[in-house]
Amino acid sequence: MIFSYAAPQAFYPVAGRMVPWFAWLAAILAAGGLYVGFFVAPTDATQGESYRIIFIHVPAAWMSMFLYLVMAGWAALGLILNTRLSGMMASAIAPTGAMFTFLALWTGSLWGKPTWGTYWVWDARLTSELVLLFLYLGFIALKAAIPDPQRADRAGAVLALLGAVNVPIIYFSVVWWSTLHQGASVSLTRSPTMAATMLTGMVLMALAAWMYSIAVTLLRLRAIIRSREGDAEWIRISAGK
């Protein structure tokens, strides 16, 4: 049964065996994606070479949103089934999600400078991404501020669910806000048709981001398990070998 792996003790060695596989997959896919992105994909007719940042930007933006949902899903599972591993999983995902959110903002502003002429625009997507970063940071800070790990997991789970309910509302309110305030100075004119090789590069990079997220999450999960259950006998046995 899959539930037998819900115990940290059972999942710890499994996670350890999975990490290298996902890490290698991430490296290979990223190498392929970067090669396609930088050497095969053609230069964009309107944006020149600067568009190539989408091979990092778009996968990062996808992951940032997707990981929040995965995190909230694990949090909900932890609240419902009261499994210890779920809360640890949510803790392990949060820093990676925050990192991808930051990466999406950073690459977005680097792309914005040559394209829009400014590093930051209060565009709906940028603004909601920024709010998402704040939500991740709030989750991490709440978990860090509660000394008892079990309580921290459950309080964090409630917060993650509250955030997940609010994310769509925040997104639509920000869209409303930017259409209300923003002049016509900036418009997102991404060419509607994309060369097939561009899409290939982007998909490869997105898959690489997935594999990287899984590998890093599992690695961090192992560290969390060790730090929380460091006194347990099974950990000392597996560490001693």
Partner: protein, 222 residues
Amino acid sequence: MAHAFLLLVRRDLRIALRRRGDVLNVLVFFLVAASLFALGVGPSPELLRAMGAGVVWVAALLAAMLSLPRMFAADLAEGTLEQMLIAPQPLGVLVAAKIASHWLLTGLPLALVAPLIGLQYQLPADALAVLLAGLLIGTPVLSVLGAAGAALTLGARGASVLLGLLLLPLYVPVLVFGAGAVLAAQSGIDAGAQLALLGAFLAVSCVVGPLAACAALKIALD
């Protein structure tokens, strides 16, 4: 249940009236913070008129935030909260009463004082009416979601700073629709749509917030 609710609200109001400073300080903070913006950007009437609604709303969010750590903390410290949790009435009644008294002591006074700041920012009379209406609909959201935040940070290190980090992103829709309604009224557009959206967000918050607050209280007092 209604009896327990009224009893709890009356108790909180009475305690607050005995310590009037706590309530007044939040209002004074609101006025000071809102005035500082004008000092920061200069006295040009056009600029003030353009940013007035946003300033009032941001200051209201911050002021409400300041008052939130007290929502459950005093009751937790003296042990009342545990007694309330084991009382026969459902926990939702306690949370609803806490939210109601928090709004009566913070949100309502803030909304009533806000038109004064609006006058300082040269807002016309119809915009002031929309500002007041928006605050009356929007400040309950601050208390409802605030209850969840206050319960989540019970017993956490640095709870008051943490509260801001947790709650301010969740308050974004209130700020957008609340300030947007005033801006719409100022530019001669009907503000009804924004106020309706604010009301809708209040309705959603009333479902989600108390649930989260109850769950968080149970976790905090586990």
